[in-house]
Every structure is written in C-alpha cells, then in structure tokens.
Subunit: 370 residues, 2 copies
C-alpha cells in the first residue's frame, strides 16, 4: 500500500533484482519518490513541480509559528531560533544542483531492491537561505566538537525502531561546505515536501546531506553513528563491509532527450538535419571543464559547447550541434571536471547501488516526422 | 531511458504483467508519472508538489504572450483568444477532485503493462478559470455540431504517427459538464507540467478529459475517433472489443495512512488507544452519502463521520475514531454515493486496467511505539 524508501529485506537480508525484474514495492517507491522531468532539466532552473523528490518517511506537518531551530550540545551559547530570527539573518540565493546518491541505481546489473532511480534524480533550484557557518560561530562550538548532527522532523521505523532522519557533518565540513539554512525555493516559500519551513542545503554533496524539515543541530564530541551515516548511504561491497562515506557528487552529465517521444524503435524520434542537443553537466569536485558527445554509441567523440555554470554550486549547460542523418543512433555524453575526473562507461558496482555516474545513453531514430 | 505512458506492445500486441512482475518501462513511467503524496490527500487541498501528474508526451514549451486559444469548425463566430481575453472573462475558482482513469491498475490480478498506478492517482486542487459553456455560446455552435474536440500542445508518437493529445466531449457534455478553461492552480499560475498556460478541467470526469496545454477547440459535425477516445481510455474486455467510453469517476474512497511508516510487518505502526483515521471519498455520479470503515479486514463495518464536501466537484472528508488494541489489522474503507453506487471488494477486470474502484486495504500493526 504505502511505499518504503530504503532497501527491501527478506528475513533480515537485503534482496536484489536484475534487469527487468522489479517488485511492487519498488514501483510504489517510484510512484512517490519521483524523478525530475527532463523538460525541467532542459531548463536552467528546474521548477518545483518538475524537481525530483525523495522523502524517507511521511512529510511532517510543521507549524511555522511555533517552529524553532534548536542549536545545542557542545556549544557556548545554546540557540533557539524562530523562523523570523532565521529570515532576519543575511540572506543569499544560490542555484544548487541536488542529486540523489542512488541516482542511476536501476542501471546496475545487480540492483538492490530500493528506490529504483533511472538517471533523473537530479535537479537545480534557486534556494534562498542564510549561511550555516556564521550561525555555528555565534553558537560558539567548543573545542571538543567533532560533528554537527542535523535532525529532521520526519520520523518512521527503520530496521527495528522509530528514528528521525538524521545526518551529520564533521566540524570542518560544517564550517567549510558553504551549507545554507534554506526557507525558499525558486522564489516561493519552501513547499512542504521539500522541507517546509526549514531545510539544510549542502552544495556539491549528494542530496542525503541536505536534511529537510530541519529542527535541531547538535554539536557532539564524537562521531555520529546514526542509521543514515553508517548503514544507509554507504559505498560498500557487501552487507558487512563498513564501506565508505558518501559525500560529493561524482562528475556526471545528462542529455535532454531531443525530438519527440517514440515508443517502438527507440526512445526518441528526431527530424533529419541540424539538431541542437542540449544537456547539463555537474561535479561536486569542481568546475566542469569538458563535455564530449558521441552520436554513434561511443565510437567517436566530439566536444560539446559549454555554457556558463549556473553558479558555483550548480550545473553547467552544454549544447552540441548534430547533423542528424536518417538511421538509428545511440547518443552519449561524457563530462570531465577540473580535477580530471571523467564519467566511466560503467561505474563500479556497489552493494547499495550508490554513486552511479555511468555515461547516459539515449537511443534515437532519425526519420522524417510525418 | 525515457518513459512512455500508454500500453507496452510486443510485436503489436499488448503485454501483461502479474503481481510482483513489473518491467523497467513501467518503473520509468512511475518515476515520471507520479502519484499524489498521501499527506496531500490527508489535507483538503493537495499542494501542487504533492498532486499526481500524468503527461502523455513531453511538457510543451508555450509562450504565454503569443498564446492563442482557437475556437473553430462548425461555429458561427470563429474565436482566437489571448490569455488576457480569457482572464478578462468571468472567473471562478473551484476545488475539483481529479483522478486518473487508470488509478488502481496495479491491483488488477492481470495487469496491462502501462502506467502502474497504485491508489494515489487522485488529488484535489483549487482551479481558477472561466466556464467553457458561455464561450461556446459566444462562438455560436451550428446546429450540425456533434462534438467539441480539444487539442493540447503536447505531441509524440502513438502507435505509428505523431499525434497531439486530443479528447472530445459531445455537444451536450460540453455545454452541461460545467467544464472550465483553467489558468490558475492553488492560488498560483498553472505550473508548466499541469498545463500552462491553459487547460481544460472537466469536473467529475476521470482526468483524461481535462486536456492540458489546450490551444484548440474544434466543433465537428461527427463523432471524433481520435486515439485517446477510441483506443486508449476504453473499458473493454479484449484487444478487439470496442468497449465503452470512460466518463465519470466511479465512487471511491482513500484512507490517509494512520501512524508512522513501518517496513517489516505491515504498512504502518500505530500507537494503541484512540486513533482518528481520516480519508476522502468522491464520486462523479453524485454526492457521497456514506463511508463505512472496517478495522478487521472486512468482517465488520461501521459508519465513518462525513465532513462537508469541498465543493460540488470535490471530495468529501471523513473521519473514524478507532479504538486500537495491540495486534495486526487490515483497515478498509467503502464509500457509497447518492445513486446507491458502492465500492466493490474487487472491481471488474478490464483489458486496459481502467476504473478500478476496489476497496483500499491498509495493513496496520498496533503496538507501543518505543
């Protein structure tokens, strides 16, 4: 009936699917935790109604009038801030590209039964908020502080007991990641499903770091070992492998499908002639320095023309002029960032299906459109 | 890669799935054509970012400044209206419950491979627009007029050739169904994915009648036999059965899941004691006169308390006070309308998986929440 968002388990063990073998539970997750519309990816800024959405639990009902953000733990000055307090602080608006850490899970050959993302769990909105770091300075982190734990109001059963959605950042990341406490999206108040009244946005990181319905920040003197830090959102090789933290978005690009929807012989039908293919590229590790396009399934590559990034935290638009001749084609895009990271044809498999930045393939038929 | 929305075909024949056997293509449809959030169903009015969405093709880009609604065909006065022309006409706002004709498809034992809806393809928004009928009067329908054909700007390949999304209403339905030409949703301009700048809303009908991105209305002197009238959106028993038109929403109710998300032994975990269960009920055929709740899997039934309908075109909220004792339960709701139509335990199967108004079942575990 309702969906669940994390891994399916049978007798305590995770279950896996292969190729065209999806479960009812995966379908119900997809019907709720939906991807961005590629039409919204073709635009520079993704409208809220076209932006991907993942909620681990129910969307909590929060009263903005009684709302408080509590900053506590190992701090010199505990803070309890109203929404107005937060809105009266210096405000910034940034275009930020968010991507789910499980984006692309579906294309792993062996797929953990979890949110079955294709390639559209990415979007870029304009987020309005106030920087986190000065607020932490005001609270005065004690020397002993190791991490900041961010708690959302969303709550449900994970494994055995009810938990809130919680993620932590180390002290250094919390001070340096340019994170924002956000109360606006694309010129409107934050919609309920996107975290109303307040959420964290951690630019360049995968989306799991950007805690929604944020109500508490606790400074701790040790590492935080919550479920979403140490069990979910790991890049690991087996159930018992502790694995690695998931942090910055890997370099990736998407192609806004050209032409029109075509059901039977390929994904899209394109009129012969000059076709401007467009897309976006991003990397948490730095600026995009190159996007290459292959219109022939990966045999040959040409450079796309890069536009300007939508800001220091957001994707780079690209275009590619394709002389489309009749036939069937597979179009690929491959992005490279300033650190020299490039998208692989096939990303390394991992047990939870995370961080898949494999090259996207769009199949296209070029023919006269009647 | 991209999704498709209608039925999958293999060698020209529709393909079917059973139970937990979903295809990649169905999952990709679900990731795009998403359901409403049940949190938005618990509210009287569903926020746009929580409202279900089905787009047959790509969302078209429409320039509101050059936009025209053309009314042509067998009319005495052809009209070509700007958006301002339409906005300057008498405006009305109505809460309207929209439901996809394929809502519930997933629960048919044999399921055509199409949009794999669970029960959440329903929502109620406040739609702002101007009534259709006076505009048709102004255009002056000729005596010969049989139908009005409504064309959206959305276009793609369906079967063999590119088509626009088109639906018709008979002259009588167009004049009497209280349809609106809509340019606002929930106090905001219509979002792009919901039909910007203009759409039709046909209250009480399944959603396929409410053509989005509406740009043309043509008065025809014969019945319209377009794909979405005569092939898709039919209630039929086999591929070659011409079947019946799909029109008004069947009587139906949904339960806003009580408690919190619970993964392993049921859908929801509920604290023992007095629990207010709430939900919504609606019928295209008339007012809701009764909602019964069974907290024991359908063995016994008690009446829910009905609230006021959100308007003549919208759902009726209901509540039910449940004394929850520890254990595992299946909660059902069953609505009845003024014509005496009642939800069945299992709706009659049909070839395209349409109009499934079977009783919903929510599995609940009642136990102390730690």
């Amino acid at each position: 009936m309702t969906d669940t968002n994390e891994e399916e388990r049978l007798g305590g063990k995770r279950t896996f699917g292969h190729g065209n073998d999806f479960s009812n539970s995966e379908v119900n997750r997809a019907l709720r935790n939906h991807g961005s519309y590629y039409e919204g990816i073709a635009q520079d800024i993704t409208p809220a109604t076209m932006h991907y959405l993942l909620c681990h639990f129910d969307v909590p009902q929060t009263d903005p009038h009684t709302f408080r953000l509590e900053i506590s733990g190992h701090v010199k000055n505990k803070l309890s801030l109203t929404l107005d307090d937060i809105k009266s602080r210096p405000a910034e608006t940034h275009a930020v590209t968010l991507e789910c850490a499980g984006n692309g899970r579906q294309s792993f050959a062996q797929r953990p039964k979890s949110q079955p993302w294709n390639e559209w769990a990415v979007g870029t909105a304009e987020w309005l908020g106030t920087p986190l770091a000065p607020l932490l300075e005001e609270a005065g982190l004690e020397d002993a502080v190791h991490s900041l734990v961010f708690t959302g109001e969303d709550r449900g059963i994970e494994v055995d007991e009810p938990i809130y959605y919680q993620r932590s950042l180390t002290r250094q990341d919390a001070m340096n990641a340019q994170a924002l406490l956000v109360y606006g999206m694309n010129g409107e108040p934050l919609p309920a499903a996107f975290g109303f009244p307040l959420r964290l946005i951690v630019p360049r990181w995968y989306g799991m770091a950007s805690v929604k319905w944020l109500s508490r920040i606790e400074a701790t003197d040790s590492e935080f070992d919550g479920y979403y830090m140490k069990q979910a959102y790991r890049n690991k090789q087996s159930e018992n492998d502790p694995g690695k933290d998931i942090r910055l978005q890997r370099v990736r690009s998407v192609i806004a499908p050209p032409g029109i929807k075509y059901r039977h012989q390929g994904d899209r039908l394109v009129q012969p002639g000059s076709v401007e293919i467009q897309g976006k590229a991003w990397s948490g590790a730095g600026a995009i320095t190159n996007v290459e396009i292959s219109p022939d399934g990966g045999q040959s590559w040409q450079d796309a023309r890069l536009g300007e990034a939508l800001g220091e935290f957001a994707w780079t638009p690209w275009t590619y002029n394709w002389q489309a001749r009749p036939g069937a084609f597979e179009i690929l895009s491959r992005a490279t960032d300033g650190l020299g990271n490039t998208q692989p044809f096939e990303a390394d498999w991992n047990y939870l299906g995370m961080e898949n930045n494999s090259i996207q393939r769009v199949s296209v038929v070029v023919a006269e459109i009647p």
